[in-house]
Symmetry: C2
Subunit: 283 residues, 2 copies
């Protein structure tokens, strides 16, 4: 480790640096008065410990609040050192662990970890009032002859409407266009301590030929709507009965869900889902 | 470590156990053919390594698929050993890291990590057409004299409607009753790689006296709706303009959002949010 005595204490981008002759960890300041440091190369735990202590003193003097350490998987051996200095875990992804520490005496205002997974069910109905249904190779309904809507998990960074179109294409080969979110359901502790938001999406079919996904789907077909709803599996589940009622109300033209619109805020793009039929904009 | 030679290989609940005389890690089988082991007491990395190798062989022979290791924070020193055996990170909470490994040759079907944080904005309007607004002590609008809806993050395990009522109470002291989700917005990469789902909730005030939260709120008041909407901050932001239009449409009686209803599925309770006005149930 070499210390460059000419670097300033506010330039935290330049790797380990001199700060009055003392070496600190490289860090990037965030807009909430915090600092994020990413450990990118191996070092001795004792070296890391000394560096971390010096850095914490430096950041404390400079009024920093939250301190984040991003530790790649291959350097996980250094996590114990950070824990000994008082760090705890914020979140982890496949290839890294994010540790965090709060310097001020006041209660921490650190952002929460992600708490929800997002999944979709796709209601795809054609002009003959046939609904697109699948039998799954795995999971709860496996081998039971139950026909259900295509379902799936929305990918990281994917919009709900895009995820629903992708899942239908993957599972059945059918091209669709997103119409509306008809309803959504929130459940807790679906996976360890995490919650789930499950969006029921209506999609309009743009193609009709079925090409079922080899790996996950046992069979797929267009099934008369009445036949789908008569399945005991559908009749015996409160959630599925409600979903069926909502889809029927939508098909009969009475029901309005939420359509999507790309809307920006603070230069960040997002999608707003709302009842566009009931909104009469003033501009 | 003592091995009890009388325990059976299918009883994975009993701590380290004998399996043909070989000690394996304690594990709980999940319904997807996986096994979850929680490390609860310190051990030597070399002991852990041997135990893990034996366990993996055992689980492989028994056709197990996903292997989960829950490592408490104070035992994070053992993570390096698991990584060397091929484990990667699935997720982490404040006090533990969850590592995972996939035994089969086929692509893994492990559940995704949580990808979204969930937040709310509360639209609370009284019979005088005054809206409940706050000035925040921190964040983007700090010190700018901007009046905004109360906002907050939904807690782990909390329903959106409950979270909106709680946030209003905490920030303003006002008691409310949840009415509807009027709209929601999905954005990506709002915090590291994570996405956000932001729900605009309408609430009915049940009390009117304001008692602003010391720690986070600079000021709170009931403000005439027209005065709120005329703020340049509101006029200049596309998202806020849409939210204002939707809230106006709701106040004027035209707009229908999603109400909530407790609905069960597979013995699990959840809340379904849907357009109840437009739904005419058959039963």
């Amino acid at each position: 480790m070499s210390a460059s005595s000419s670097s300033s204490s506010t330039n935290l981008m330049a790797g380990e640096e001199a700060n009055g002759g003392v070496t600190v960890l490289p860090g990037v300041e965030d807009k909430y008065g915090g600092v994020v440091t990413e450990i990118s190369r191996p070092m001795d735990p004792s070296t890391f410990s000394a560096l971390l202590q010096t850095s914490l003193s430096n950041w404390t003097l400079r009024g920093k609040k939250g301190v984040w350490i991003k530790l790649p998987r291959h350097l996980i051996g250094l996590a114990e050192t950070a824990v000994k200095e008082g760090f705890w875990f914020h979140h982890a992804e496949k290839d890294y662990l994010m540790l965090v520490y709060w310097i001020p005496k006041e209660n921490n205002t650190l952002p929460f970890n992600a708490s929800h997974r997002v999944s979709i069910a796709a209601f795809v109905i054609n002009h003959k009032k046939e609904v697109l249904v699948v039998q799954e190779k795995t999971g709860r309904t496996k081998g039971k002859g139950i026909w259900k809507f295509p379902t799936g998990v929305v990918n990281e960074g994917e919009y709900i409407h895009d995820g629903s179109v992708r899942e239908v294409k993957e599972e059945t080969g059918v091209d669709t266009e997103f119409v509306q979110v008809l309803a959504f359901r929130q459940t807790h502790k679906t996976f360890f301590e995490k919650s789930n938001l499950f969006f029921v999406c209506m999609l309009k079919p743009l193609s009709f030929e079925i090409n079922a996904q080899e790996s996950e789907i046992e069979a797929a077909q267009w099934m008369p709507w009445e036949e789908y709803t008569k399945q005991p599996f559908v009749q015996n589940h409160e959630l599925l009965r409600y979903m069926t009622d909502i889809c029927s109300a939508k098909t009969n033209g009475d029901y309005e869900g939420f359509t999507h619109l790309s809307v920006s805020e603070h230069n960040q793009q997002g999608n707003l889902y709302f009842n566009s039929r009931d909104l009469h904009p003033r501009h």
